[in-house]
Symmetry: C2
Subunit: 138 residues, 2 copies
């Protein structure tokens, strides 16, 4: 059976390395975090990472978390996710939960329709504490 983080075979070397680093990580990584992890593999410059990230994000294999200036692998194995994706980021453990909500998306569409605004991209990020961390703190 397929590993939960199998990687498309048509990625370039750098793209594969970067996606591998993201898949391997528990939480989000900054571009420079990724670079540090991949120095052993020959990467030397931020741009090598940013270029790979651009492609991965473009293809939906990774996501950028704007409020962290960091990146995560897409949680959807088959990367079919379309439209609005929301992220819940735990301030305690740093883990990120990715989800989609059709109601929110629809509601946003209504707002946009009423305003004549054409939506191209939406970022939605919730900061807080996950259940595990709350339980641990209690």
């Amino acid at each position: 059976m397929a590993h939960s983080h199998d990687v498309p075979s048509d990625l370039t070397r750098n793209q594969g390395l970067v996606l591998g680093a993201l898949n391997h990580s528990e939480g989000p990584l900054s571009a420079y975090d990724i670079l540090d992890k991949l120095r052993a593999d020959g990467l030397r410059a931020p741009l090598q990472v940013y270029r790979a990230l651009d492609k991965l994000v473009e293809r939906g294999l990774a996501h950028r978390l704007e409020s962290l200036n960091a990146f995560v692998a897409c949680a959807d194995e088959h990367c079919h996710r379309k439209g609005l994706i929301a992220f819940a980021i735990c301030e305690g453990c740093g883990k990120v939960d990715e989800f989609a909500d059709a109601v929110i998306e629809e509601r946003l569409g209504e707002w946009a329709g009423a305003k004549g605004f054409k939506v191209e991209r939406t970022t939605m990020e919730i900061r807080g504490k996950c259940g595990v961390c709350l339980a641990a703190a209690a």
Copy 2:
């Protein structure tokens, strides 16, 4: 009658200057944009701006746009806005429309409740084109 951008009188000098710069601007400003506008008033270092912004954001007089690394004055004159605020950012003219949506907020609350996640802060930013820019492009 009150000016639409009257400023609370208990702000410090730097806070007042920074909020003034934001109020005066058509669109979002980066901290360094603000600094440049305020050099004539004696500001010299980024930190002076960041410190003022921290306070303004804390008080809800300004908002940070994560996807732009920039700031806007709060659109609500009386700064009573609580809870989730969404921003629609036009890629054409750079203007930002601020709005609140109770349905989205509630929906998010439901998700959080089901997951046991405690929400502390939410950022929601829509990128796209506003009606004016769409009309102009047609």
